[in-house]
Assembly symmetry: C2
Homo-oligomer: 533 residues x 2
């Protein structure tokens, strides 16, 4: 496919009236063609108006067509083939194997949500039948379902050009809910965005849906993003990115005449807690633990939302051995190209600030990579006292850096956890002997994180039904939900009740004969449909 450099507004290419921009290959700092024309705020309203116009038909699509549409997007993305992996690699510096995995995750998410649409529980059907003879007052027939909120603005993430971008988790869950999407492409990977955007548009056309169901816009980063969130036709926002940008969107959304929800996934230190028992094995076991940790820190150049930024290791000899092993492991690592020159610059500044903080030492440092923007992975160390008292040590450094914190007691750990801001994840490395020590940490962690992992690593977020990729502020803007996994669909729904409606006026999901074969809550009790469509 020849890249055009145009936005895709309701199925039509649109040449932006603003400036143009180019992607850059971060491995070489070379400009990539074509030029992408940026739209203006006036042009943006074409997309948001089309999304609003698409809502009535798209929000009431029959489940089978709706699900098949999501499957078709996945098929169309796969059909792009190697071109997608190559372009995404050029634009992000990410290796092909990582991008192939990310593509599989992206199409897997779309197909997972297709099955969610077929299964239908997200429609939240509740029926309280009439009780005409109830005393002192009869009860009317009351039925409830969840309906889609309306057009959703989705922002592409720098660090996941596929899985958290054009047809990523936010788009997939919004479309599954029945919400049209206006997608703001990330200017660091516009070509990847265009390729995937055309795959989505093809599915919209093939299924003869209203073209406003999906638009992809290129615009000047902050200003068009703010305009998009302020647009009265937009009813919710999905975002993955920096805390500063996410908070700016939250403020805009809250100060609209009609405030709307913002689901921003922003930053996380993803602490790992190593207990004594986990260090009671052989030197090889400790080396293996250290290598796994360093792999989680340095994979994708540390640019994952769930890369561990903190490792709590016990004081004393066993902890010393772990720290030494971590130092050796990271020393053997070469830097990998970061996503952009700007991100590499921020990493350098953050690592320099952490390295010069009181009480912070260098546990180990790798080597600078052979490409541009590939700084040397570095792991720092500090005692828990310094961590607890110095908020500078709590700053996320996006990239391959982490801080080993030495603690002396469970009380130390609980105090440290209580000082943490909200996080996406927390990980415990332990053995059975550590259960009594670790148990009191779990309630404290529940207050701070969205996911607790034992003897694994937080990276590699599984997209399933039970996953939570979320957590208290500032990990996300809204701890009541997740941006990965099927519960993500609930972000884009709201309940409506129907009292005493005749069958002729009831929406299909609420009709007595249950034409969509939905599980339903009748008088408060969950009842299963005997068959699914």
């Amino acid at each position: 496919m020849t890249l055009t450099g145009h936005s895709l507004i309701a199925g039509q290419p649109l040449v932006g009236d603003g400036k143009t921009t180019f992607a850059f290959n971060p491995a070489t700092n070379e400009q990539l063609h074509p030029a992408y024309s940026l739209i203006t705020e006036e042009q943006l309203t074409t997309a948001t108006s089309a999304a609003a116009a698409a809502y009535p038909s798209f929000s009431t699509l029959d489940p089978e067509t709706h699900a098949a549409f999501l499957d078709a997007i996945a098929d169309n993305i796969e059909a792009i083939g190697e071109e997608l992996i190559i372009r995404a690699g050029q634009e992000t510096g990410l290796p092909a194997a990582r991008l192939q995995g990310e593509r599989a995750r992206t199409t897997g998410q779309l197909r997972l949500f297709a099955n969610v649409v077929r299964q239908g529980d997200f429609r939240g059907v509740r029926i309280d039948p009439a009780l005409p003879d109830r005393a002192p007052l009869p009860r009317a027939d009351i039925r409830q379902r969840q309906i889609p909120l309306g057009p959703v603005a989705v922002f592409g993430a720098s660090n996941f050009p596929l899985a958290f971008s054009t047809a990523g988790g936010d788009t997939a869950s919004a479309l599954a809910a029945g919400c049209p999407v206006v997608f703001k492409a990330h200017n660091a990977h516009p070509g990847t965005g265009e390729l995937v955007g055309r795959a989505v548009v093809k599915a919209v056309k093939d299924f003869r849906l209203h073209p406003g169901v999906f638009s992809l816009v290129y615009g000047p980063g902050a200003s068009i993003g703010q305009a998009l969130v302020a647009d009265p036709n937009i009813k919710a926002v999905g975002f993955t990115g920096s805390q500063a940008a996410g908070i700016a969107l939250m403020r805009t959304a809250a100060s609209r005449p009609e405030p709307i929800p913002v689901y921003a996934e922003m930053s996380s230190l993803n602490p790992v807690f190593v207990f004594e028992g986990a260090l009671n094995g052989s030197a090889e076991d400790i080396d293996a633990l250290a290598t796994q940790y360093v792999t989680a820190v340095t994979g994708s150049s540390g640019q994952l939302c769930t890369s561990p930024g903190l490792l709590f290791a016990p004081a004393g000899e066993a902890g010393d051995r772990l720290a030494a092993a971590v130092g050796r492991a990271v020393s053997a690592c070469a830097g990998q190209t970061m996503l952009t020159e700007g991100i590499a610059g921020s990493w350098n500044a953050g690592a320099a600030a952490l390295g010069s903080a009181d009480g912070v030492t260098v546990v180990g440092k790798g080597t600078t990579g052979p490409t541009e923007n590939a700084p040397a992975p570095t792991i720092f160390g500090t005692p828990v006292r310094d961590f607890v008292s110095n908020h500078v040590l709590h700053q996320e450094i996006f990239g391959a850096a982490s801080l080993v914190i030495r603690y002396s007691s469970t009380a130390d750990l609980i105090e440290a956890v209580n000082r943490l801001e909200g996080q996406l994840t927390a990980t415990l490395q332990l053995t059975e002997a550590d259960y009594p020590t670790a148990a009191p940490l779990i309630p404290a962690l529940e207050q701070k994180v969205g996911r607790i992992i034992v003897n694994g690593w937080p990276t590699g977020v599984e997209g399933g039904h039970a996953m939570v990729h979320g957590g208290p502020f500032p990990a996300t803007s809204d701890s009541r939900t997740t941006s990965v996994g099927t519960l993500a669909i609930s972000r884009f729904l709201r309940p409506v009740a129907y009292q005493n409606l005749p069958p002729e006026l009831l929406p299909a999901p609420l009709q007595d004969d249950n034409p969509w074969h939905l599980n339903r809550r009748i008088n408060g009790e969950q009842q299963l449909a005997t068959t699914y469509v």
Copy 2:
């Protein structure tokens, strides 16, 4: 019980260090004893700290104790007896029958939530079992549950001294979720608040719960409310009241270092749409419809969240007959005491402004009541053109006033609906012949309201499983939920995932042997527990 005039902080009476205030009997404008001492912001932190301290034990209470605690609150409220009805009547001017009904609703809600706690679906258990042999990567065991957000601030409503106040729907759903509550009493009915607050405190003591589970504070309205919402120990807010106050709380909550959700139920016009077929009956039928409408407008002096403020009637002869019947019905109504002198004053100002707006006439006016603060119920009229073009006619007048709008076509109705702000309810009066005309209105209404009623009235909100008492802004601050009915519990919960936790560290609701007998979603499929506790 002798009223003390003190706040109840974590089970202990506290004399406020601020000014004192008295309740007034709005029927006589006479002061009611005792004086209530108002707390300061410093004193408030005692309550919020105690709530935070109560969270660990209360949030993990076993379901049977938890449910029995809610039942006990209901029992204790009933045990107060007539004293509660008398004091509430003195403080609000509401008649005894209404207050008895409201008490039954309050205790009914508590017992409903007790059963929700026993049933347990709100815990949202999802289990994706490990797939160790999956290729290319194994899947870890991942489990999800909903946990309580933390201490909740609840504000008493002026118009429901029982059902939306001390132990009303917000308190009941927050306590059911496992969240401690800090309740800010409404200064118009402090004695009612104290009586109910002591009933809650008795249950806390009898069940030997942490005393911080519930506190009731009296404070200077706006300032202590803002301080409560800004308090870092508070994690969510429940509010029913004016749009100005609700929006002020929303802004405070959004600008905290850690923003928190606000569930504010604020204002609603509750439009009623009368179709031609509903007027094809006899004169008696039309009179009956008019009387029902006027009863809904004037009941509780029109001070219900769901009192209908708009009635769309067709132009032409049938609509003329309805308007005339409405005029006759309201003319026969005497004013009833409003909740406070201030509310009666606002009603007078609002009714005067509406009456003097261009194109607005008086359809009918009742008589001033024999007590103080009992203005004459008034129903105004206007053509749909004026309604659509003049936003002044969209202002809620809290009290016994309503506006009859004459329309000519379904297009008129859809245009009017599209101009409406968010509402709690919309009501259709129709017959089978009207279904084709009414059907296109329903999708438009779904975008504007939380509940659609056919051939009933919006007042008398049923507290069940399917009810939605909510709607788009500014009806509420958050359309994704409801403040009445069992779904209200979801406002105070957030998901947490547990990856690869050993059975010894898993919370009870997530354990394989399902000790709490919960319905669970396994690999995305809902599975019913065979028995409930």
